[in-house]
């Protein structure tokens, strides 16, 4: 369908919140696609990393929350290392995750109850702790 864009939709505050929480300048991104190209999890993402930034530009909150992209980011910083405009997507994705959790837009939270017993025994505590922190909010 056709997305209506206007000054109002652009200044919906969503982008401002994300910029304030992440400390990143979302507008300095000029959509070169380097982050999407290098992202190890892009193959499984419904929206590419650069498209998340693009939707921020266009104030399309719902589209951003609907996609699984921000929940597959492992903060491996490949994108930050290679971004020609110095944009750190890991910080932007984490900010959006926090906003999603606060606004009840997050999918089912990942918690201890979702770990099968077999996995729990062999899983490194570091893995569990980081998963809970990243997706528990």
């Amino acid at each position: 369908m056709r997305v209506k864009i206007s000054k109002a939709s652009l200044q919906s505050g969503f982008l401002v919140d994300v910029e304030e929480m992440s400390g990143e300048h979302v507008w300095s991104c000029y959509q070169c696609g380097n982050c999407s190209a290098g992202c190890p999890l892009a193959f499984a993402m419904e929206l590419l990393p650069n498209q998340i930034i693009r939707l921020l530009h266009l104030g399309q909150e719902e589209e951003v929350f609907r996609a699984n992209t921000i929940w597959l980011c492992t903060s491996c910083l490949t994108c930050k290392t290679r971004c020609p405009r110095g944009v750190d997507l890991s910080r932007i994705n984490e900010s959006i995750r926090h906003l999603a959790l606060r606004r009840g837009k997050a999918p089912d939270r990942f918690g201890p109850d979702q770990i099968e017993p077999g996995v729990a025994a062999s899983a490194p505590p570091q893995g569990l702790a980081s998963a809970f922190r990243k997706f528990g909010g």
């Binding site: 910083l77 490949t78 930050k80 996995v119 505590p125 570091q126 893995g127 998963a131 990243k134």
Partner: protein, 300 residues
């Protein structure tokens, strides 16, 4: 030489062999790792949003306690701990507002526990064993002390991501063109493979929260190493070890033509090369048993 050593939760649990080989090998190179008394969690993931100051409490408290032990440096082995502690230190040293807020937070905690507290400004230097071997011990002297060179053991060096990134805050080595692991393995006599996936993400904690997606990442890495003829994949982080080693059985089922490759911590290889005595290795922790290839090729 003595270093205050921070093992971290996993190195006293599923990755105990990573820890024991590290201590023993360091000792063999007369580097004494003195475990930090009553250490607490390092925070595992560095907080990436500005306002979540509580994410800094765990790492900065550890740094404050390390300062309390009177050591200038705090040594780590696991890349998660190294990353969080190093970035927290960087934040305190470089971001005034975060330094002010985290110190206020900890001061309140320490004072309430009856201890005095003076502001932490990043006095402790967070180091990794690889750095110490390279810059302080020196790879030449490591080679000199190697009694059992692992000649013609083909090893693919794997760094993962948090050991090197973000380069501006970590600075252990170049984020895209690291050499420290290659140089160490070379010093041990290994036949080091030029491994293109050495800084690709192994899937990290997605190995637990979205296992079937992360399997693609870990498979990509192990399969490439095996295609390049690697006898062993050397890693620096227990979560990488989990994703790359413990899930090879699933890879075997899901992907045809997949040859399994044993995954070892760099401290295990170091210990073997220095002929550290037996009971530090717990081969049973490996899903893919490295012994066969070590005996035939590595001359162990």
């Amino acid at each position: 030489m003595e270093y205050l050593y921070y093992p971290g939760c996993t190195l006293v649990d599923t990755a105990r062999n990573f820890d024991r080989c590290g201590r023993a090998a360091a000792r063999a190179l007369d580097v004494e790792l003195v475990e930090m008394p009553d250490w607490t969690c390092c925070g595992t993931t560095f907080p990436l949003t500005n306002r979540k100051i509580v994410g800094l409490v765990a790492p900065v408290r550890t740094l404050v306690n390390a300062r309390g032990e009177g050591y200038e440096e705090l040594l780590t082995l696991c890349s998660f701990c190294y990353n969080v502690l190093k970035r927290a230190n960087y934040a305190v040293r470089n971001r005034g507002d975060e330094r002010m807020r985290i110190n206020a937070y900890l001061e309140d905690e320490f004072v309430r526990a009856g201890q005095e507290y003076d502001e932490y400004e990043g006095e402790v230097e967070v180091v990794h064993l690889l750095e110490v071997l390279r810059d302080t011990v020196g790879f030449e002297s490591v080679t000199a002390q190697v009694t059992r060179p692992l000649t013609n053991l083909k090893v693919a060096p794997y760094y993962g991501c948090l050991l090197l990134r973000p380069q501006s805050e970590i600075g252990l080595d170049d984020a895209d063109e690291p050499t420290v692991l290659e140089d160490l393995l070379g010093a041990l006599g290994c036949d080091v493979i030029d491994f293109p996936h050495r800084v690709e993400c192994c899937g990290s904690y997605l190995g637990l929260s979205s296992p079937d997606i992360a399997l693609q990442n870990s498979y990509e890495i192990v399969h490439t190493a095996s295609r390049l003829g690697a006898d062993v994949l050397a890693v620096v982080c227990p979560l990488c070890a989990y994703n790359l080693d413990l899930r090879q059985e699933e890879m075997h089922q899901r992907f045809s033509g997949f040859r399994q490759v044993p995954v070892m911590y760099f401290t295990e290889l170091l210990a073997l090369a220095l002929e550290v005595e037996e009971e530090v290795y717990s081969w049973e922790r490996h899903a893919v048993d490295p012994l066969p290839v070590l005996q035939t090729v590595g001359g162990i």
